[in-house]
């Protein structure tokens, strides 16, 4: 396994009340190979229709990050189900990265982010 995989963060975030209905748990996986470091990462909305139909999937979105850390030229590179594409694009559009220092060169390559839309079985207690 490549050494850059050594640094792996799995962050379980407690989300705000408005998002709690949509996202029970979030994991953000990163390594030290990224050219830009995320500043604010927006979580896509899990489409209710997909949840009800028990659809899961994965979307890879590639985009440019400018010097200020804003995203642009967002494009879906790979997708297992179209229903997840729009929320992924919206999430990337609303996400930001740390700005570059003046002496840092703007990388010419695109940044890519993969969203995995998963469903976890939950056990609910019956009230006595």
């Amino acid at each position: 396994m490549n050494s850059r995989w050594l640094l792996l963060f799995a962050l379980a975030l407690a989300l705000g009340a408005s998002a709690a209905d949509d996202v029970a748990e979030l994991a953000h996986l990163m390594d030290d190979s990224s050219d830009r470091k995320p500043l604010q990462t927006m979580v896509p909305h899990y489409p209710e229709k997909a949840r009800r139909q028990r659809l899961t999937g994965e979307v890879e979105v590639c985009f440019k990050v400018d010097r200020e850390g804003n995203t642009s030229r967002i494009a879906v590179r790979r997708s297992t189900h179209r229903i997840f594409e729009k929320p992924s694009i919206l999430a990337v559009r609303a996400s930001t990265y740390f700005p570059l220092d003046e002496d840092q060169k703007l990388p010419g390559i695109k940044t890519c982010r993969t969203f995995r839309f998963q469903l976890m079985p939950v056990a609910i207690e019956q009230p006595q």
């Binding site: 028990r54 890519c112 993969t114 839309f117 079985p121 939950v122 609910i124």
Partner: protein, 177 residues
Amino acid sequence: MTSTVKHWGLSATVIVCVSCWSFASLGQNARTVIGPTNPALQDGADALLAGDAAEGVRLTLLGLESAGSARDRQTAMSNLCAGYVMLDDLDAALEYCDRVIEENDNRWKAFSNRALIYVKMQRYEEAELDLQRGEAIAPNARTLRAVRAMLLDAIEPVAPNIVIDDRRQPAKDADVE
């Protein structure tokens, strides 16, 4: 689990299937007249579709009394099943759905409505059977899909889990110039 069913209960009024096909062509010459053969049945269906369950049931009961064909009678009973679901009178609803299916087991709307009743009664195995029978008749019916989702939420609740992966995949490196 109960809370899930209650949550869906609000949606039940829009999930029940209402049949409104009680139209027929009358006359055989150029002066063909088209209209409902059973106005009460049609008005009842319209009321149910408008969300007025009590009025819909009242009119549909009148329509059932004057139903002149098996088709009208089945439509009336199917709509009474739907109407009583909307009124949350599940026992009455089940009785009418049972009667429709007994007469004609090719009515997917009756199976859909009865599956909905079974979900609300927490009789999940029977709901599954009715959904399968309804889906065999109308595989793409949105209403059946909605009821199936209710059943799944009741028996196999799930929570969304989103993973954001920013790791650079080896395959990506080859694409980048």
